[in-house]
Amino acid sequence: MLKPTRRKLVLSDVDLVVRRGEIFGLLGPNGAGKTTLVKILCGLVAPDSGTARVTGRDVARQSLDVRRRIGVVYADERSFYWRLSVRENLRFYARLYRLPSSSAEARINELLKMFDLQEAADVRMHAFSSGMKQRAAIARGLLHDPEIVFMDEPSRSLDPVGTEDLHRVIRDRVADGHRTVIIATHLMHEAEALCHRLTLINHGKTVLTGTVEEFRSWVDSEIVYRLVVGECDVRAEGLAAIPGMLGVSVDPAGPGAISLELRMSRSVTALPTAIRYLVEHAAEIRSCTKEEVGLDEIFRMVVRGSVPRQITAVTQ
């Protein structure tokens, strides 16, 4: 898929399959090509070559049919008529989607209730907060009950509380198990909190595609557990002999406590055996934390180009 804007190559070699019913993330730095990809999938931008299919339909040749089946949610607050109420805005868009008047009113009321906009339904939208506008945008995207919802940076102008609320709304009300949700975002925590699978896009190319867990296993073959236990008769050699254990280090952790760093293989689960070993040696386990590579670290590795080549080859 190739898309030159003013002779600049925006996307190339993008190859993706999104499964029905999943929340799929398009993750990448600013300018990576996420929004362009969404616009191509919605039929707003025509690629120079390649094909894009949505629910099996070609987005270029069956554009109207595709548009009936998708909903799009923008972060851009300006996409509403602010002099009108949210109810009037939704009525207008319901007509554009050819919803019959009778069912449109019922659907609008249902959505206003679903997104906690009932009380403000007849208030002009210029009085709305960013969070309310965003909820209204989601309501509009769901008006015609689409099979697929695209969300482009849905929490862009929201504060942390608003973002958390929005994530709950997306998980509970937008993704109902049947609907596919595709989220373009540059926020790692958003992708991690919402997406079943995601793809990392950089410089217009898909670099990695999979679940967050798969990403971790690709870039880091180890799992690290850090335990703090009461002073006891535990020997590092004993723990190191457990199958799947790659390394053990023991350090003092204050009066009467020691810190254990256990590095384990992802392929062999060594933690239960290690815990049993500690319990058998009368160790009082005070804390146990899993330390793993965060998505933001993986993201930085991708952006810097430090993801091993064989991994990108496998995932594409």
Binding site: L44, V45, E88, R91, F92, Y93, L96, Y97
Partner: protein
């Protein structure tokens, strides 16, 4: 039809939300008709048409009122697109399962209705207050008005294509509107223009549209206005397919460049 009604409702609600604007628009129209009546009478007296000053008042009133309707055809499409670009609503509208030409046409309906309402008010005042056009032939008027609006709508589509491609600085609407008003006989009869302008005025649709309209207002049958009607339909048949092709090409290019929703 329901699509057009949705846009009419949207535009009415937006307009009604600016209450003072609605009041001023209504007042402005009444003042406009009065000014035309007295100014045209004054000009007619000044140029030695004292005995025929009401002829000139009718000429100017019809010229301005109908030019307003025709030029709405020219401006409505690019204006609708530009408004949507600036309001940020173009993209969500483009995502609805509607073809863009349909969308542009539907979003222009309210502006057309406004111009027709202005025309109706001017005509009502002219008939009831000034006693003009009691013999007007409505059939002739409609037969002229439809192709007249279509020719301007065709040029309006080319203007909309400019908005799609260049966003601002559309050379069509301003230049074409100005030339049409100058050469088409809106307030100055074509006959009094310099001789070299006459052939130019004949290729301007507004000349034929206003000729036909004035004939209709004076009670001429469709047969008497046949030259104007035929010229306008001929222009429509030539201009409309060309304009549609240009608009489609502009859309394809904007989609390729990814600039369709930029502003």
């Amino acid at each position: 039809m329901s699509l057009a009604l949705a846009f009419i409702r949207r535009d009415w609600l937006r307009l009604a939300s600016y209450r003072l604007l609605v009041v001023w628009q209504a007042l402005g129209l009444a003042v406009f008709v009065g000014v035309i009546y007295f100014a045209a009478g004054f000009i007619a007296n000044a140029v030695g048409m004292a005995g025929r000053s009401s002829d000139y008042v009718q000429f100017v009133l019809a010229g301005i009122a109908f030019t307003d309707v025709y030029l709405t055809g020219l401006k409505a499409f690019p204006q609708a697109l530009r408004d949507a670009q600036l309001a940020g609503t173009l993209e969500p509208m483009l995502l609805a399962p509607i073809r863009l030409p349909q969308l542009v046409a539907a979003s222009s309906v309210f502006v057309f209705l406004q111009s027709l309402l202005r025309l109706a008010i001017v005509l009502t005042l002219a008939v009831t207050v000034f006693g003009f056009w009691h013999q007007a032939n409505l059939l002739t008027a409609v037969l002229v008005l439809v192709p007249g609006c279509l020719t301007f709508a065709a040029v309006g589509l080319v203007s909309a294509a400019c908005v799609v491609l260049f966003k601002q600085g559309d050379p069509i609407a301003g230049a074409y509107g100005f030339l049409s008003s100058m050469l088409g006989g809106t307030v100055i009869p074509v006959a009094v223009l310099p001789g070299w302008m006459h052939p130019l005025s004949q290729i301007v649709p507004l000349t034929h549209a206003l000729n036909g309209t004035r004939l209709a207002m004076s009670g001429a049958s469709p047969l008497k206005a046949l030259t104007s009607i035929a010229a306008l339909w001929g222009m429509t048949l030539v201009l409309l397919p060309i304009a549609l092709a240009i608009f489609s090409a502009a859309l394809r290019r904007a989609k390729k460049e990814g600039t369709l929703v930029q502003y």
